[in-house]
Amino acid sequence: MARKTLTLNADGTLDGVQMAIVNKRMEAICAKMANTLLRTGRSGVLNSARDFSCCIVTAENRLLTVNESLPIHVLRGADMMCESMQEFHPDLRRGDAYLHNSPYHGCSHPADHTTLVPVVDDEGVHRFTMVAKAHQADCGNSIATTYHGSARDVYEEGALIFPAVQIQRDYEDIEDIVRMCRLRIRVPDQWWGDYLAALGAARIGEREIMSFGREIGWDTLAQFAEQWFDYSEQLMIAAVRKMPGGRAVTTSMHDPFPNAEDGIPVTIAVEVDPDEATIDIDLRDNPDAMPCGLNLSQACCESTLLLGVFNSIPDAVPTNTGSFRRVRMHLRENSVCGIPRHPTSCSVATTNLADRVGNAVSRAIADLGDGYGMASTASIIPPSLGVISGTSEKTKGAYVNQIFLGWGGGAASAQADAWLSIGHLGNAGMSYQDSIELDEMRFPLTVRGRHFITDSGGHGRTRGGAGVYCEFGPTEGDLEVGYVSDGNVTAPEGARGGTAGGRANQFRRDPNGDLHRLDACAQAIIPEGHTIVSYSCGGGGYGAPTERPAEQVAIDVRERWVSPEAAREAYGVALDESGALDGEATAQLRNG
């Protein structure tokens, strides 16, 4: 009954109107996939924190459409995963589904179980692959966390690795794989519920795109993809042409961690050529892979570089293989931030070092010209974002889940104060923070306090987002909290004269109220009656603080973002006892 919505031009191409129409439909399909995953996921990681992503990849393994997904999940990697699926399974059939989490074949890190559903048309031709990636509460690691920071290699890490392993045939589960997972993943029922949610999302995407392909013709859809890539590249060209040209080298340093005792230095060279409309990013001048879980997968490495770029250009540029053509990334094999070799562990690849790398790109762009780029977003993963585990009556046995109680602060940009709690660079503010009530109802824990920390946002012409204080403990038995908190030593950097954000820290509070400092990377055991105190990082500021309007600083003080002392010392702003701006004293501080 549906009328034919498209007729191609005489030369077989789509016009601008048709392009826009098809793109709307593709975006809507992605949105439906995401809606299914959010609403049906069983673990808090999915249904509370939204730690998942959905996208559409062409049969040639090019990323076509992404909708409100976590950038670190999908900018690069979905394409590589589909490529390995095709390599290992040349004969793709309708009804197939593949489970993929191998960081050596395009996945971000082993906790991100990805369901790949090849879309096969009525003639048996593979047309697209629907991708639903969902961070698991547990992935079978040797310890109860999905972020094993100290793992010397994938063997010590312990995750089950699935390099595009077939998990459905003719729409039916291959029970061997399901049984393997059930035996090696803690909380198997929760895993099973999340698997169903991700599979359901991919299948809904498959159903929708099948009907769309039949409606407008598969060749038309393929033609759309080609033109959409070209169009996206044109938008990217226009964006890069407006950037300041030149080469900038920035550095950063991940904190010392077990098996990386001296910390991990990062050096990035960014070269923008507005005339050629290209951006070159060179990461080759970095250490070899290390015997710890912080090494980047290739997918995360390339994604975080692209993220640094996309955070610095107008948001109208679509993120797909077409726009990516203008960014040339130079990576080295066996680098800590490059292309890992098996059995290097990439357990923590999506967050810590990836954030250092991506932030350095934004700061390099800031170095090229005032008005461009960003400061650094908060480093993570503090205990308030840790993986909690234990055994309790309340959970009727063992429980494992990641909580999202206190994110880090966002980075100040050239144009605006930071988005308050961005999470971290890689999820770009796309994950929900947990409801305290929901966490307390689900798990045997109690939260004693959660609030922003004054002066923890980097000072600057624009301000970084504040860090969060969060204190919680068990109500029943021991609580194990796994976390890998970067930013205890090197704070998230400011840009162009903005100051760094506040550092992370963590303590155990005993029943007497005394605080005992905890390691930055640990599986902390918190006994009943004790609590864990978590300070998350603030984001860096942008531009000289003394350039921030004094009236705005007075408001910052009134709203508790900035202390009166910092107003005076960092911003050169004096306030009287009532908190009102003292213009004369301020003028003296700023000009004197």
């Binding site: 609403r39 249904n47 169009y231 308050l420």
Partner: protein, 685 residues
Amino acid sequence: MRVAGQAAEIGVDVGGTFTDVVCRRPGQAPIIIKVPTTRDDPSVGVLASLERLKEEFQVGAADVARFVHGTTVATNAVIERKGARVGLLTTEGFRDILEMGRQLRRAVYSIILEPETPAFLAPGARRKGVTERIAADGSILVPLNEESVRRAAAELVEDGVTAIAISFLFSFLNPEHERRARDAVGAAYPDLDISISSEVDPAFREYERTVATAFDAYIKPVVSGYLQRLAERLEREGVGAPLQIMQSRGGICAASSARLRPVRLFLSGPAAGVVGARDVGRAAGFEDLIAIDIGGTSCDISLIRAGRPMLRSEGVIGGFPVRVPMVDVNAIGAGGGSIAWLDEGGGLRVGPQSAGADPGPACYGRGGEEATVTDASLVLGYINPDYFAGGTVRLRPALAREVIAEKVAGPLSLTVEQAALGIHRLLNTQISEGIRLVSIRQGLDPRDFALIALGGAGPLHATALAGELSISTIVVPQHPGVLSAAGLLAAQVEHESSVAFPRLVEGLAVADIRETLAELDGRCAALMEAERIAAADVDVSYFADMCYVGQAYHLEVSLDLADDDPIARLYEDFLEVHDRVFGHSTRSPARIVNLRSVHRAGGRGAARDAPASPATGAARKRTRRILLPETDDATDAAIYERASLAGADEIDGPAIIEQHDTTTLIEPGWRGRLDGCGNLIVTRA
């Protein structure tokens, strides 16, 4: 001629520009009037409309048997930031809940964004923690220290607050601390407006509950003052009937109840529109409807299923998500004034920016320099330049052609006509995708619905949208412009009460539920009684919000206590709803999250008693050349006057039906006819 003591029912809907009034009297044609809205004090406009009813139609105050009102005063208070200066009391250690929010950025790579949370309601300095803590099982962990409440309140009053919101952790399980804190503040400061979260929104998730409560406190003085003023003025004029107000859920209640919970009035106006659409659809024989209301800047999409407007548990007010139940009206930035533009990659975009009413589309000739959808409609011959908005705005086709040539056709190497068709098709795609998203979220297939087309531009796009969505029937009401006012008179009195009920379905007995429902019934019944509605006239229905164990989002499921095994039935129904909405369900453990009781009374059709207009038989005026999609040449379309259509007329597309407040385009393959109520029904030929 005036008949003494006639029972006139009056619905008054205050919109942004006009205040619409529908007056019904038994056995007579409805009176429809419009007066300008008086923004500073909308009650002035309302009174002016009464004056006109008296002068022009001899309907006096003493004749008014019912007076139902839809108002945007709550939403305006938020948009214009004219609410109270609010202070917020929270559990000690959690003062930043309101500002911290959930942290979900709306545009992932955008550098400048509006804040996610409505921190303006109570910025940093006006948020205070007090000593108390309820545990996750409702027990008291830290007793309330009333002295800390008084101290915090004193500081806030010192800071000039005029209203206080109180939102403590787990108050939805145990409201004792909140109630005591309210009493303590009220005793010290009797003039303060106070809202407590366990009454405003007794459900889990502290951020959402705090936002609803802070909004309630913020708008309370404004709403309360307005309703009181209006009630007093009506009384002074001699209107004996009590003032009734439309609530966001689509039910009406006494103004005295509405004042207590103003947060429930945000969608008062739009809810009336959906009820009006429901009523027109029902009179035309359709219980499942998709309503599209396309105006100048936006398109409102809503769903009516089985004769009831579909509801959502959370809406967006002034850009902020607020968890209060409301009719599921989804606005997308697509209307007649939407601007067509090219991005840097040469891609055509339509909206969300709009040329608005001033300067408006280029064809208005008021200096508009952007190509809009209305300009495209004019180029395509769909609208009559001499009869737009009843002839009040004379359109200039040359200006429309010029601007489309310059802004769209030229850069894309298209003819002006191709460009205009493109603008239309893109707009139609955006709206149809919007409709798909709304229906898919509810797990419904648009093909099972009739489309009801409203607003100045709705009927122009209806056949194209129906075509894209494979919908087979379109309803264009006789008076699409005053559906909200008519809806006010068709709505039922409704009182709703809900409570958190965190229990597994397994092992649950009906008796456990009955006690809780009885408590909810008691609250609703008291409100009905206050409106002097007899218990015998009240319909009661129950609902449970449910999810699988582990899930964080719930679905509303009907609860039928008359069933042999209500709990077993509830579980089966949950499986069915989960399957409908998400495409799968398994027989795994589920739990109840909230229980809800809804009491409804009264209400009857507004559309049925509206006599069809007398047919003159001279409806067909002439023909006009129009351009349609997928045709290369212009086609002759017959032009009809809506007011002159006769019941027997059958109109085959391509045709255009003009009336003073809208234009209906019937594309080829569609056929229109009037039904007995004066609605235009368009079906596939």
